[in-house]
């Protein structure tokens, strides 16, 4: 979107910001990469299109350590992550200039491929997507190519920004917790089989952890010897469970449900299910809570009420 680019360039030129954190145009429309831009020349490769799915808020942790202000482009859902990081003192608001960029639902080339398209040579980002392939030209509807998370978008309002550019469109068509409920309805054996199958694919690449804005530990507990838990590979099926349960637990009440974990998983494991299960439980048991909506709010795991549900609520089916 030219407007974002022009504005970012103007702010860079007038010295308001020292650098711009956005996306650099890739080899194709669908592979823009997160990038820092420091000069006008560099800005020529800046892009903001519907394939710019990456949540840039986590890059602000490192950018906050740099001298001068960084302009960052945040989509509505990214702004929640930024706010959460802010509440945990991991980013510096003073050093951040936020352009809240509009979002009409982000596209995933994986989903285009999932629709059966092979050998993609070029693709545009409008509805429907015109795809040129090695094996002929085809069309894919925008909706089919949209990231799964955008179908259950939590809203297109930015919760923190300095200025807003571009329009957003509501893309939410499904219930965010439908998948979770589907699993909850299964028998223990079916649930176990479902997760066993999914998690057996895990290769412990840590992409989910490293992309997650809530997983912002300097050193992950699974990389340190503090718990005798340092593991690198899928040695036994237990370890994936341990890793994913604990990871979800550590981000419980802090996860904004940005969906990056599922987006980046090379094995397509629906990792967001763990986070959503916690979010759903928190909402049911402790009242509606949206991490990152309010940088001043106290998280559900660092607060309590005297009459909270007892853990036996689980056996009684109260978390279904």
């Amino acid at each position: 979107m030219q407007e974002v680019k022009n504005r970012a360039l103007a702010l860079l030129k007038d010295g308001t910001v020292k650098r711009v954190l956005g996306w650099r145009i890739g080899e194709n429309t669908y592979d823009p990469e997160p990038a820092f831009f420091e000069s006008e020349e560099d800005m020529q490769t800046f892009v903001y299109n519907n394939f710019c799915a990456a949540n840039l808020s986590k890059y602000m942790i490192e950018a906050s350590k740099l001298e001068g202000k960084t302009l960052v482009c945040l989509k509505p859902c990214d702004s929640y992550s930024f706010n959460q990081l802010l509440s945990e003192h991991r980013v510096d608001r003073e050093k951040t200039y936020i352009i809240g960029v509009g979002c009409k639902g982000k596209l995933s080339i994986e989903n285009v491929k999932r629709a059966g398209v092979k050998g993609i040579l070029s693709v545009n980002d409008t509805d429907p997507l015109q795809v040129e392939t090695l094996y002929g030209n085809t069309e894919v509807s925008y909706k089919a190519a949209m990231l799964d998370r955008c179908h259950v978008c939590k809203g297109k309002e930015h919760v923190v920004y300095d200025e807003l550019i571009g329009e957003s469109e509501d893309t939410s068509t499904a219930d965010r917790f439908a998948q979770v409920q589907m699993i909850e309805a299964m028998s223990p054996a079916e649930k176990f089989a479902f997760f066993q199958k999914e998690l057996s694919k895990c290769i412990r690449c840590n992409a989910c952890r490293n992309v997650c804005p809530a997983c912002s530990c300097r050193k992950c507990v699974f990389d340190s010897d503090k718990f005798d838990s340092a593991q690198k590979a899928n040695v036994d099926s237990f370890e994936e469970k341990m890793f994913h349960i604990i990871r979800a637990f550590h981000v419980a009440g802090r996860c904004t449900d940005c969906g990056e974990c599922s987006r980046v998983c090379p094995q397509g494991i629906p990792l967001h299910l763990f986070n959503r299960k916690f979010i759903k439980d928190i909402n049911t048991l402790y009242g509606e809570y949206q991490a990152g909506a309010d940088a001043e709010a106290r998280g559900p795991l660092t607060s309590f009420t005297a009459d909270d549900a007892e853990p036996s609520v689980v056996a009684e089916g109260g978390t279904k």
Partner: protein, 341 residues
């Protein structure tokens, strides 16, 4: 040239599996990876690229080296047995076969890695030509012919038949094992497919990727290039590229406390991880820039310098497909290419 009707493939799998274990692309929860064949498994030869390469078959992501068992004050150490039974890896693509050749350079050179050598010795490779190469493929750049891959047996899949051509002695042996199921055939269908593949390969977007300047001589120039400073920035320091790569061969050795002893195992490691080669004094690569540079320098500069010019990239394009930040070796090569011009 032999052939077998597609409808008879389950019989072929069963026949091989009866004699030895069979590893082939299996779809589980929507993703296809190399896995042990079972009656119930969903064999998937249609997906061009398995998520992980076929590397696991010879160099598993994790494997036990030995067990220590403590009984009172006595400790017994039991080494893990080496592979002693034959097995077949079916459906490996040309790039992955070359990947194994890269691993051979590392693990079969002195000192020989006995676990790997035992597997190589007992494994038969049945490769499969790539009927429909995809946009991220650039194996041609590394001199790989995906229309006629290397292997003990080479196969081609058409709409009706799997064409089967034994190449090596191991391949002949396997062919003999399943001879009942195979019928003789001419080369016509295969020749036609090879021609079609060749045309597609020419049209691949990265077909003309130039590796000019990537060799041992370029070490200092490449290492010291300011380009890395920009290139590494989006890197999340995850291990996706490393773990889907057919040639990445780094591993770590760790101990697992079983309660009554220790199980020592080795598992893949990633040079992208901050604790890669962490030692008592700390880490010899302290920044992500250094770690990122290491991966590409290794594949394109150090490895060819030490292995008669053989790159440790085979152009499978998995990292191109899978990098969460859309970084990849192609972008790196191209960035340096532009710089040169």
């Amino acid at each position: 040239m032999k052939k077998i009707a597609i409808s008879n493939l389950p019989k072929l799998y069963a026949a091989i599996a009866k004699a030895q274990s069979l590893i082939l692309p299996v779809k589980t929860a929507g993703k296809t990876n190399f896995s042990l064949w079972t009656e119930a498994c969903d064999v998937d030869l249609q997906t061009l690229k398995t998520v992980k390469s076929a590397k696991d078959a010879f160099f598993p992501q994790s494997e036990t080296l030995y067990h220590c068992h403590r009984d009172g004050k006595n400790i017994t150490i039991t080494p893990e047995d080496l592979q002693s039974e034959s097995f077949v890896v079916f459906g490996i693509k040309g790039c992955d076969v070359r990947g194994i050749a890269v691993l051979d350079k590392v693990f079969l050179a002195e000192p020989v890695d006995s676990f790997y050598a035992a597997r190589r010795c007992h494994g038969t490779i049945v490769s499969l030509a790539c009927g429909a190469p995809e946009e991220s493929c650039f194996c041609k750049v590394f001199g790989i012919d995906c229309a006629e891959p290397e292997g003990d047996v080479v196969t081609w899949l058409t709409e009706d038949y799997l064409y089967w051509k034994p190449v090596t002695e191991k391949g002949e042996k396997l062919t003999a094992l399943v001879a009942d199921l195979l019928e003789d055939s001419d080369d016509a269908a295969v020749t036609a497919q090879k021609e079609a593949i060749g045309k597609i390969v020419e049209k691949l977007p990265y077909a003309a990727l130039s590796l000019e300047g990537w060799n041992g001589e370029a070490l200092n120039e490449k290492f010291n290039s300011p380009l890395w400073e920009t290139l590494y920035k989006p890197c999340l320091a995850c291990g996706t590229c490393t773990f889907v790569c057919p040639t990445c061969q780094c591993y770590d050795i760790k101990d697992y406390n079983t309660g009554n002893g220790v199980q020592r195992y080795r598992c893949w490691d990633s040079c992208m991880y901050s604790d890669f080669t962490m030692m008592a004094h700390g880490n010899n690569r302290t920044s992500q820039l250094q770690r990122f540079r290491q991966r590409f320098m290794h594949k394109l500069v150090y490895f060819p310098a030490n292995n008669d010019g053989m790159y440790s990239c085979v152009g499978c394009g998995r990292c191109v497909d899978k990098c969460p930040s859309h970084l990849n070796i192609v972008k790196v090569i191209k960035a340096f290419g532009k710089e040169g011009k």
